[in-house]
Amino acid sequence: MSETPVLEARSLVKRYGRVVALDHADFELRRNEILAVIGDNGAGKSTLIKALAGAVKPDAGEILLDGQPVQFRSPMDARDAGIETVFQNLALSPALSIADNMFLGRERKRKDILGRYLGLLDRKTMRDEARQRLSELGLMTIQNIGQLVETLSGGQRQGVAIARAAAFGSKLVIMDEPTAALGVKESRKVLELMLDVKRRGLPIVLISHNMPHVFEVADRIHIHRLGRRIAVINPKDYSMSDAVAIMTGAMRPPEAMAA
């Protein structure tokens, strides 16, 4: 491989009490790819991406962005570096509106004096933009962009979080089980959106338990087991059946790990 990976992690370790959620886990995301991460419940996938997104501080190991070592001390750091994440628990504020949530932490100020000196928000622009993003995602059942997130159905919330990440990612986008709560139609939209984001040149990390989805969109599949990466496969070379077998320990991982 001559090209430096967009995001790389080496030998990450994270312990919770006696549980080792990450046990010297490696990770590599390349340019212009969708990398799927699969693994059993509790394998440590969420912990891995939390470490990559600055939400958890690993006990050991290093993370490199474009080949440069980085230390994210907060999700903000990671976001400033262009990493946008849809966390498994969504990270939405229930009591705020959909539009507020979409722009949380990167609100648009008005371009005029009021905006510049008094920090007046440009609420109209934010609402319009939020509405547009959600329409693109096909989440049309949301009637009112000012609606509080707590009044949305699980699937609708998921849509808000995804629209946010897709809209703002500049380096890469991480999605932890983005379609878990989504309906057939909405899932399809998300998959299309992912391909769209990739076409825009952003690589994506997708964590999912849905094998057909994974095999449909992923360029490479990172298989996680018992806190570490045990294989990386190319979905063209392996069947779903093999992937599941490796992931669950029913089959030994192939010797050469790189796909």
């Binding site: 390349r30 939400a55 903000m76 939405l92 504020s93 928000l121 049309m140």
Partner: protein, 361 residues
């Protein structure tokens, strides 16, 4: 570009092929012409802050009928406003804190300490009153910052932090003031500016003090901050679900710190208003200010669990309590039973509020 394999979308499953044809209809909505009552309910639903207003109106109506003309007299109306001014200003500070799911037991102590500092520096140390005033403000700000640092850096519960600093600021106040009151005449002679908040615009029998005007201006400013700036959104998000806010990329630590600092400065302003109202600087005032400010916030509909509430609600909450206390006094109820009645009325006020909100659902 050696190994990157151009993804060939392997396409959706068979059963998803016809999704393109699917209907884009939105959810089902009530299409019938809403009745007046329903419209009222929807209105309350969309504007929850209106609810405390209604309670206030009910309270005023109650006492107007009990007490008669005297209650509605412009002098009395303006008196109520004066009586709630201090709690109103502290309530604004307290609202900010409670919106972040915190609580500040030290607001009263910060207020007094700041007023004592302003007073002594101006009257006894002989500093120019503007400087003394500014130092007082800075003391308030610093007290708030200390609270904020303890909450954010040491990750201590706000209740404990402010319980501790309440004792600390209280002791500092008694030490610095030697528990002695600075007399009204002394302040009038050397630092009348400190009493400015007590002077008033006269409208017929009504007296509108500058302190009350200041309270309204501060409320407007903080309302703007909360509802029209990014900082405000961060305050709500931090209080609503701090972990989510952090994951969404908000510096919750800095937000909290700013909130405590602003609250501290607001308490110092309340100290200034206090000097205006009392005329003197008394190191013993404001003993019940903590609880009173929290009461105003909660009656105003702000949730103690953070993330939900409003400044306007707090002012209305303070007014509700003020109207009750004043109305009871005017109707000649014995002090003992006034306390009793205030207790009952606080509960009733919030019960009505809850009930109206439920109806609004």
């Amino acid at each position: 570009m050696t190994t990157t394999n151009e993804a060939q979308p392997r396409g959706p499953a068979e059963f998803e092929r016809r999704l393109a044809e699917s209907d884009a209809a939105v959810a089902a909505f009530d299409e019938e012409q809403p009745s007046l009552l329903q419209r009222f309910r929807h209105f309350l639903h969309a504007h929850p802050t209106v609810v405390p207003f209604l309670v206030l109106v009910l309270g005023i109506a109650l006492f107007a009928s009990l007490v008669g003309g005297r209650f509605f007299h412009p002098f009395n109306m303006s008196l109520i406003l004066q009586q709630v001014t201090i709690i109103g200003v502290l309530g604004i500070a307290q609202t900010l804190i409670i919106l972040t799911a915190g609580i500040d037991l030290s607001v009263g102590a910060i207020m007094i300490l700041s007023s004592v500092v302003m007073g002594r520096l101006a009257v006894y140390v002989g500093l120019p009153v503007e400087i003394a005033f500014l130092i007082g403000l800075v003391v308030g700000l610093a007290c708030g910052m200390l609270n904020g640092l303890l909450v954010t850096r040491l990750k201590l519960p706000p209740f404990i932090v402010t319980l501790g600093t309440w004792s600390i600021f209280g002791a500092l106040n008694l030490w610095y003031s030697a528990s002695a009151t600075i007399r009204q005449q002394e302040i009038a002679a050397t630092a009348p500016f400190l009493q400015w908040t007590g002077t008033a615009l006269q409208f017929g029998a009504a007296r509108l003090t500058y302190g009350s005007i200041l309270m309204i201006v501060l409320a407007a400013l903080v309302w703007y901050l909360l509802n029209r700036t990014a900082f405000g959104r961060h305050v709500y998000a931090t209080g609503d679900d701090p972990e989510a806010a952090r994951l969404a990329g908000i510096d919750t630590g800095r937000t909290l710190l700013a909130v405590y600092a602003i609250a501290g400065a607001l308490c110092a302003v309340a100290g200034w208003v206090l000097i205006g109202r009392v005329g003197a600087v008394s190191p013993l005032s404001g003993q019940t200010a903590n609880l009173d400010s929290i009461t105003a916030v909660v009656i105003g509909g702000t949730s103690l669990f953070g993330g939900r509430g409003s400044i306007v609600g707090t002012l209305v909450g303070a007014l509700i309590v003020g109207v009750f206390r004043n109305g009871l006094a005017l109707s000649g109820v014995d002090v003992l039973w006034q306390e009793f009645a205030v207790g009952v009325l606080i509960i009733v006020a919030v019960a009505i509020d809850q009930w109206l909100r439920k109806v609004a659902q």
